[in-house]
């Protein structure tokens, strides 16, 4: 065991295949029979900020748990900086930090103690420990409250403390499972900035999940959209938006909303609250056709507007497809640089 550990440590310094994470054919079936992750494969490059997006229950947290060695996959392989996560879990954990979806700092300890204990558990050198802790407290604006019990902190302070742990432990790879949930817009912005700083200053590879598309757009170099345990699309935010292509037509109507639209009109993204959103190749040409179609179904068109697709539209297109009738699947061909997986 000892020898193996020493060897692994050396190789961990030496691996330079450029990948922080390589996942291949990953499948997880929970004892109840839920297939949470279904033959997923993807890579995360060293030094990048990678976002995993997807609706509730897509399998994001399960994927993180497997890569962080907290859960065993049913099948498939995971390697972290070239090291097999299934065979060397402790060595792999030495290189990663994890900020779970639920806040998990220890309320019965002070902020300082939370940082101290976890620094010790990550074997941070005694000399470096003190300096890094006071720097981290300072950077996250927690110095004044360092000696207060964390249970008296606000939710935002707890989140910041949790990310501060990463700053003290300096993992090569940091997992953040919905880091900005429950934060006000200001704290959210701060947290995003701090995550980006970690990435820039220490070349920490970041793996983040989120439901917030604006955040994903700002933060991530590359994204993957997961749905029903599979990766539906991946690429840079730019590429993904381009892949959706064309224009988003937003029609405000009164009267019945459609469940679907004929293919030659485009793809129905959403229809609720009196607004119908349709993705089309050429928005201007589609306006009269869509108006005719909707009025033919008994609705009255109040107004029409055109916009470029946002990441929200990308999300809707790939992630919500299976919640509807599957009509999105074959609508677009212009996917250019997008790699599609699974299915």
């Amino acid at each position: 065991m000892t020898a193996q550990f020493a060897k692994a440590e050396k190789t961990s310094e030496a691996v330079g295949n450029g990948f922080a994470i390589q996942v291949s054919g990953l499948t997880k079936v929970y004892p109840g029979g839920t297939k949470a992750v279904d033959a997923v494969s993807f890579d995360v490059k060293e030094g990048e900020v990678f976002g995993l997006l997807g609706p509730n229950g897509a399998g994001k947290t399960t994927t993180i748990k497997i890569i962080t060695t907290l859960a065993k996959p049913t099948s498939g392989s995971v390697s972290v900086f070239g090291m097999d996560a299934l065979r060397m879990p402790e060595q792999v954990r030495q290189m990663l930090g994890f900020v779970p979806q639920a806040i998990s700092v220890d309320g019965d300890l002070t902020g300082y103690e939370n940082l101290l204990i976890f620094a010790k558990l990550f074997f941070v050198d005694r000399e470096q420990r003190k300096k890094r802790i006071s720097e981290a407290l300072d950077y996250f604006g927690l110095t004044d409250r360092a000696d207060d019990l964390v249970k008296h902190y606000s939710g935002g302070m707890m989140r910041r403390l949790e990310i501060a742990q990463a700053l003290v432990n300096r993992p090569r790879l940091l997992f953040l499972d919905e880091p900005s949930i429950g934060l006000d817009p200001y704290s959210r912005m701060q947290v995003i900035r701090q995550i980006r700083d970690l990435n820039r200053n220490f070349r920490t590879t970041i793996f983040v999940t989120t439901h917030d598309m604006t955040e994903a757009d700002e933060l991530c170099d590359r994204l993957a959209i997961m749905n029903l345990g599979k990766i539906a699309a991946s690429g840079s935010p730019m590429e993904l938006k381009r892949s959706v292509g064309g224009d988003v037509l937003t029609v405000t109507v009164s009267g019945p909303l459609p469940d679907s639209v004929p293919k030659d009109l485009g793809t129905l993204v959403s229809a609720d609250g009196g607004k119908v959103k349709i993705l089309t190749d050429d928005g201007e040409k589609a306006i009269p056709k869509v108006t005719d179609y909707l009025e033919g179904k008994g609705a009255t068109v109040v107004s029409v507007s055109l916009s470029r697709p946002t990441l929200d539209d990308v999300f809707m297109k790939y992630a919500m497809a299976d919640l509807r009738d599957g009509s999105f699947r074959d609508t677009r061909s212009a996917r250019r640089s997008i790699s599609r997986h699974g299915r």
Binding site: M1, T2, F5, A6, K65, T68, T69, L70, A71, E90, Q91, R93, Q94, L96, F98, P100, A102, I103, S104, V105, D106, G107, D108, L109, T110, E113, I117, F118, K120, L121, F122, F123, L149
Partner: protein, 258 residues
């Protein structure tokens, strides 16, 4: 750092974490001394007047039960650790701990050591009370050290057992239930508050397999009789079961977060 160094370091850090929590809020620790105090002050004093109990060695009843009460209070503290770990799972702390590089074994040993620290506090309080109310025990330094060693081992043993059970039962309610279901029979089916010779035959047979019987026997030999002949067996039995339960808990602990 070698593997054993890492494991030991992590275990001590986990124990330190618990110790720091106790320092911030020791209310629970003090509350847990109430029950043993009542056993000595009320039960012990009342039964002290019944001279017909066949207590070996001519000791008074209150002398006889003091080691038993200590063992029982350590048992109660230790069995509580399964509930703590389920609670830590519920608030996400366990996930965080398990995502550190610490070996699972170190996490279990650390928690078990913390149970030992709480056990020592119980010991100190019960000794203090015994001195105050004039219960005559042999306070020889080596014997006291021996008793504390047994206390720590015993606490580690049952804290690990409790964490093992928690990994299968997974909820606080069930752990509360099983805690009661284990501690009460163990207590009354042991030599803690009456000699085995008073028990019906079948219960005597059962008590021979009761770890509490060995722990009480070890404590009594050091605090009362000074007859160490049974001590090696007692300690060996305790060491083996502690090692067994720590190993079990390390293997199954992960089930809690799956």
């Amino acid at each position: 750092m070698t593997y054993p160094q890492r494991a030991l370091g992590s275990a001590l850090t986990i124990a330190e974490m618990e110790a720091r929590k106790i320092r911030h809020d020791s209310t629970e620790l003090w509350m847990r001394t109430v029950q043993p105090a009542l056993w000595l002050l009320i039960f012990g004093e009342v039964f002290n007047n019944i001279r017909s109990l066949p207590i070996p060695g001519g000791f008074s009843y209150i002398q006889y039960i003091a080691p038993g009460v200590l063992a029982q209070s350590v048992l109660f503290v230790a069995i509580f650790y399964g509930i703590t770990i389920v609670w830590e799972r519920d608030v996400g702390l366990l996930t965080k701990l398990l995502s550190t590089p610490s070996p699972r074994l170190a996490i279990v040993v650390g928690k078990a050591l913390a149970a030992g620290v709480r056990g020592i506090f119980q010991g100190v309080m019960i000794f203090a009370l015994s001195l105050i109310i004039g219960v005559n025990l042999r306070f020889d330094p080596l014997d006291v050290a021996g008793v504390f060693l047994v206390v720590v081992l015993f606490a580690m043993c049952f804290a690990s057992l409790s964490m093992t059970l928690a990994s299968f039962l997974k909820t606080r309610d069930r752990m509360m239930g099983i805690g009661q279901a284990i501690t009460i029979p163990l207590f009354f089916g042991s030599n803690a508050i009456y000699p085995i010779s008073l028990m019906p035959g079948w219960l005597q047979a059962v008590s021979a397999f009761n770890p509490l019987t060995y722990v009480v026997d070890a404590m009594r030999s050091m605090l009362l009789t000074g007859d160490y002949s049974g001590l090696p067996t007692d300690i060996l039995a305790l060491l083996l079961s502690t090692a067994l339960f720590i190993a079990c808990a390390s293997v199954v602990l992960k089930r809690l977060i799956e």
